[in-house]
Symmetry: C2
Subunit: 341 residues, 2 copies
Amino acid sequence: MPTISDVAKEANVSVATVSRVLNNHSSVRPETYERVHKAIEKLSFEPNMSARNLRRNETRVILIVTPNITNPYYAHILTGIGDRAREYGYSALIYNTAGNEAREKEALEMLKKKKADGAILLACNVNSIWIREYADKYPIVHCSEYIPDLDIPRVSVDNYKATQDVMEYIIELGHKRIATISSSNNYISTHLRLKGYKDTLKKHDIEVNNDYIVLADDEYSFKSGKAAAYKLLDQKIRPTAIFCISDTIALGAITAAKELGLQVPKDLTVVGFDDVDDTTKFHPYITTVAQPCYELGEESFKILYDCINDTKDMNKEVILSHKFVVRESSAPFVKRYHEKV
Amino acid sequence: MPTISDVAKEANVSVATVSRVLNNHSSVRPETYERVHKAIEKLSFEPNMSARNLRRNETRVILIVTPNITNPYYAHILTGIGDRAREYGYSALIYNTAGNEAREKEALEMLKKKKADGAILLACNVNSIWIREYADKYPIVHCSEYIPDLDIPRVSVDNYKATQDVMEYIIELGHKRIATISSSNNYISTHLRLKGYKDTLKKHDIEVNNDYIVLADDEYSFKSGKAAAYKLLDQKIRPTAIFCISDTIALGAITAAKELGLQVPKDLTVVGFDDVDDTTKFHPYITTVAQPCYELGEESFKILYDCINDTKDMNKEVILSHKFVVRESSAPFVKRYHEKV
DNA sequence: TTCAACAATGTAATCCATTACATATAAAGT
DNA sequence: ACTTTATATGTAATGGATTACATTGTTGAA
């Protein structure tokens, strides 16, 4: 491996000049610049990152704190982060926390220990305000989930608006008995989706029925989605539509409906959220809100990069647009002879 | 951030001694060792990795070359690698290649440029012998796929044996008309599974029928699995069992069967491979071969680590054991009135 | 013409941990 | 008692890039 001083010799200049060329300093004469570049290419020189990092006091490593990359939603985001990071010469330290706060803290301690230049947090409870003390000192970006009122840079979709879209659509279809399967977790998205659900009902003068709000588990597991749907469908007056806050839950709901002899969408409309890969693996394909996961990842890296480099006028909050996609699991409400309402 | 010389001062020794303590050199007196350790703890000193890496000429970065982390199979492996890597102070550079050879080469060029200490390749065509020239010079480990005859260290399951297990089971159930959905890709696992399929049939004096061997696409997509199943089930003499080389394909096959009015497993036995998350999301739950993905990942990191550190007597080939799990998609063959055979 | 101001480049210190080599002290051998 | 050997620790060079400061050369103003 050639070093900067090999290049300097080759180009007949000092190492300082080579370094200036490398870092695009203005004070280098164009012809010198040219000469150095030729030397660099001739020797196919690549600056030694350890040396540069040592001198610049950076690591070129970013931390990705995620509950679980095995979840395709996070995997897509991770791909976006990874592609952009690589492009900028960063590598990733992936911390799987399984939602465990102790491990989240352990992860962020890496920043203190200077093992990473910054962190992207993929899932974060609204009450984790302890993150502030890290965010005050180190570059941290929230991706998709965030903590309200703590103005930590973030990128996400507009969960409230997306839910409104869903609910307006379901109401438009003529449904009145609309339930939701939310989650026991404490994510901002969960809160916003629930609020969107309630607010839109109220807006249309439909009473919010607490029996129609049931919770799946923290990780939106298929199983818990199915169980939640059972709770809804076992009621005397069944809902005719269910808004699920994730596709996996929606899948669970559809399975539950089938087991109860209900046809989706004929007897029950089911809408999901996220649009991960499973939505079109089985009929009925799920009507859902598509999130731009890859772009969420890309964007969070960009913001983190700006944070690390103290870019002026950087974006502190990026909202990417979602897309509501109507597929097969939703249909107009039809009053049937046995219906009481 | 305290440095090694701060520690030296605090402990009243030279930096060399501190360094010796840090690296567990034998020649340090126990009481000195103790004193230095106290100083380290008092200042909560952490060695600066850039400086260490510069001096030691290493990066502490490993390359993970994968077609697509979005695939849960790879995601699980990645989690295993990641957890182990972090433990040893390595971070990961994830290269998504989408199976593109140019991008695979681009990835391995990082080794030449000293941007990573070694690489783990997650999917690799059997004919990619160009990898040898990198493997000769740099630490490279194959995980789950590999190139035969090129003795590059690797970890995988015994695909041939696993397929034998599956086939023996299906034959045991009384099936004679057994088809397989393989893939157009060029992975060693694909070849071995096909060979296992054929060999076991022959062993039981069942003729190999080429009409019963159809291919899904390279990525085992659901869609292509479904299409392949249609090809099998449209034949005059239908198979009564299908061995699919992936669960997603199996899922596709089950969907195709349903669409054709066949019940799984009553009318058709379907067996998958991998045991990723989807296998128990829908009934019938899929009978499949469970791969220890996380452990495959862990093990590959360990081997790579040994390669990087020239460990003597390291394992060059690790075969982890698979587990054949019988669930709902397989059942004994029952001769029906309309059956010709 | 002379000096200030600036442009272009060079010299050397710096980042921090590692390690070859040097030194000092103690234990062992004759 | 005196050299030899081993043990424990220190000094200083090293890895490669960056950058404050120094130097040289050039241009323009007075």
